[in-house]
Amino acid sequence: MSFEGQRMDAFVSSSSAGGTVGIIVLAAGGSTRMGVPKHFFSIAGEVYCAAQWRRQLLPSAAPLS
């Protein structure tokens, strides 16, 4: 999926204001830290995403119901 060259101002000005609030979860990794993408960490060669491990750390924090 590519959004290169997409004009946000066209989106914003052509749509009516008011209503909902959206949310963006950034889980792309952004650059790297010591060779591992940020938001991720590596144990014994396996790369883990913090978003996945959150569930194990905080099992009560998965309110999907």
């Binding site: 889980a27 792309a28 952004g30 940020k38 924090a61």
Partner: protein
């Protein structure tokens, strides 16, 4: 991702990049829009750009958008909902989280800032927009925002913290 789904915010957009192939299947089990940033190595700016493009494409009538990170495990849906509540009460164009010595994400941005956010480049992040509009920012204290997980050591420390405090 589950935290975002549990908030009052809709739609939910998840921006993947590194290891997207491994995370995509899991993300698609949730009621979220998945966007892939193939330029993730350039930094957070490109992910924010794609995130807002996807968000607006999913709902052109959005009043505001929240940015959150996947690696702030102690940030809760309640914390995010508070940002929205404050925005609705004050109409301040930016509602951001204050922790440590900084003000950053999770943060809410009114729609008139979407174009600026989508123009972020490379390693630029939402903090640039928050700093630029400092006089318009409503700050909410969120000590949990200071805790992120980027390394095995971070993970171990957080594991100990959650065991000791029964979070």
């Amino acid at each position: 991702m589950e935290t975002a789904v549990a908030t009052v915010c809709r739609p939910v957009v998840v921006v993947l990049g590194a290891n997207a192939d491994r995370l995509c299947d899991e993300a698609k089990q949730l009621p979220v829009h998945v966007a892939e940033n193939k330029r993730w190595k350039e930094g957070m700016g490109s992910s924010i750009q794609i995130g807002f493009a996807t968000l607006v494409a999913a709902d052109g009538g959005l009043e505001a958008g929240v940015i959150m990170l996947c690696d702030q495990p102690l940030v809760s849906a309640q914390n995010i909902n508070e940002l929205v509540d404050v925005y609705r009460r004050t109409n301040d164009p930016i509602v951001a989280s204050a922790y440590g010595e900084t003000v950053g994400v999770p943060a809410l941005f009114a729609r008139n800032l979407f174009t600026e956010l989508a123009a972020l480049k490379g390693s630029e992040g939402a903090k640039q927009i928050i700093a630029k509009h400092a006089h318009e920012v409503h700050r909410i204290s969120l000590p949990a925002g200071a805790i992120d997980v980027d390394t095995p050591r971070d993970y171990e420390q957080l594991s100990l913290l959650t065991e000791n405090t029964n979070i």
